[in-house]
């Protein structure tokens, strides 16, 4: 006797099924804006190589309210992406121990943020020194 047919559910509208899926799409989607910003910077580099006039044109584009809006969105996306990235960081690491005790996720995330802030301040100071 053949087995009765099974019903195979579809994935249509899967992201509407739970907020966790929408948070995931938002997290992954924020990287698209980051990629767009990287391309924008690349365009700046290319125009710099093309000469002063091209570079000035690229700089002038920043005055456009649309370009400003996209930059603001990219900044927010970068911040959101950083927060989620650091939050997920402990999941990618093996269990780490310090003096026989396991380092908690919270300590790891705080350590990562501290390193990030320290490096950012370092780059900032370096750039300030360069301007002077």
């Amino acid at each position: 006797m053949s087995r009765p047919p099974v019903y195979r559910p579809s994935m249509r509208g899967w992201w509407q099924r739970h907020p966790a899926y929408r948070r995931y799409l938002l997290r992954e989607g924020s990287s698209a804006l980051l990629a767009a910003y990287a391309l924008w910077l690349l365009a700046g580099l290319v125009s710099l190589a093309a000469g002063e006039a091209a570079y000035e044109r690229w700089r002038e584009l920043h005055g456009n309210p649309w370009v400003f809006g996209v930059h603001l969105a990219a900044l927010l996306a970068a911040l959101y992406h950083a927060v989620t990235w650091f939050r997920l960081l402990p999941l990618t690491l093996p269990a780490l121990r310090w003096g026989g005790r396991r380092i908690t996720d919270r300590t790891l995330v705080r350590g990562a943020w501290l390193t990030y802030v320290a490096l950012s301040v370092g780059v900032w100071l370096y750039l300030l020194g360069g301007v002077r």
Partner: protein
């Protein structure tokens, strides 16, 4: 005596001999504060509709049989209470992403086949005989994998994983968490064997860290961590494979 409180359950029905797809059926069930959703389903079967089909066994979140979608969340029906959904209607459906055989009963043979491929058993690092006695380890060594050993194969994590829904060939959260349980055991020597499962496209790289699997696990297993702990090692093996001649793409394995 006052009338007992009542709750409406909207249960997904599918009888392949008569239905072309799932349909919803409503039942009104009297409940008390200590009644689980599973007990609600049992009330329906015993008093209202004997044709309702669902799996259950232990009634205490140990056997992993009664997993279903309750108001869209993967849950063990014995692990949630009717009072928290009152007055309803609360929707009870078969676990997401699995073929449905009948009503709330899914076909989990795909998972069982995957479980066979991950070598989720101890492969002793040194050869031993029963005469060697108990194969002991320290509590600290056990702590490394203890959480992953709590998996009861209830498949809530598969119902939570959209990647499994899209790509049923993905090994999936529970199978990979059980793999990691044995990989982290300091008595085990089966790493090389399991690397093949980890490094495959259907292995850890099938996971995009949605992370919902770890949220729904009723035993606190954290499969998302088990999977993603392996990505750095897997990437390193891939890169080293390109570097070292003769080691490319696992050519030296067995």
């Amino acid at each position: 005596m006052s009338e007992p409180a009542k709750i409406t359950l909207e249960v997904q029905r599918y009888h392949p001999e008569q239905d072309s797809g799932p349909r919803w059926q409503r039942y009104t069930v009297p409940y008390t504060a200590e009644m689980s959703v599973l007990e609600g389903l049992q009330y329906i079967k015993d008093h209202l509709d004997g044709s309702l089909t669902f799996r259950w066994s232990c009634r205490m979140a140990i056997c992993g049989s009664c997993g279903c979608m309750i108001d869209g969340e993967p849950e063990l029906a014995c692990h949630v209470f009717l009072r928290d959904y009152a007055p309803g209607p609360v929707r009870v459906a078969a676990l997401d992403h699995f073929p449905i055989q009948r009503d709330l009963v899914i076909d989990h043979s795909d998972f069982l086949e995957k479980l066979e491929t991950v070598h989720s058993y101890l492969i002793p690092a040194e050869e031993r005989t029963p005469a060697d006695g108990t194969h002991r380890q320290t509590p600290q060594a056990m702590a490394d994998y203890y959480d992953y050993a709590q998996c009861i194969n209830c498949l809530l994590c598969y119902a939570a994983c959209p990647q499994y829904g899209w790509h049923p060939d993905f090994a999936g959260p529970a199978a990979l968490a059980l793999l990691q349980r044995y990989n982290l055991d300091d008595r085990d020597g089966g790493h090389r064997l399991r690397e093949r499962v980890i490094d495959a496209e259907q292995g850890v790289w099938g996971c995009t860290l949605v992370g919902y699997c770890s949220e729904v696990c009723p035993k606190g297993v954290d499969p998302a961590r088990a999977i993603n702990q392996n990505k750095a090692g897997s990437a390193a093996r891939y890169l080293l494979g390109w570097w070292r001649p003769g080691r490319r793409r696992g050519e030296d394995r067995e």
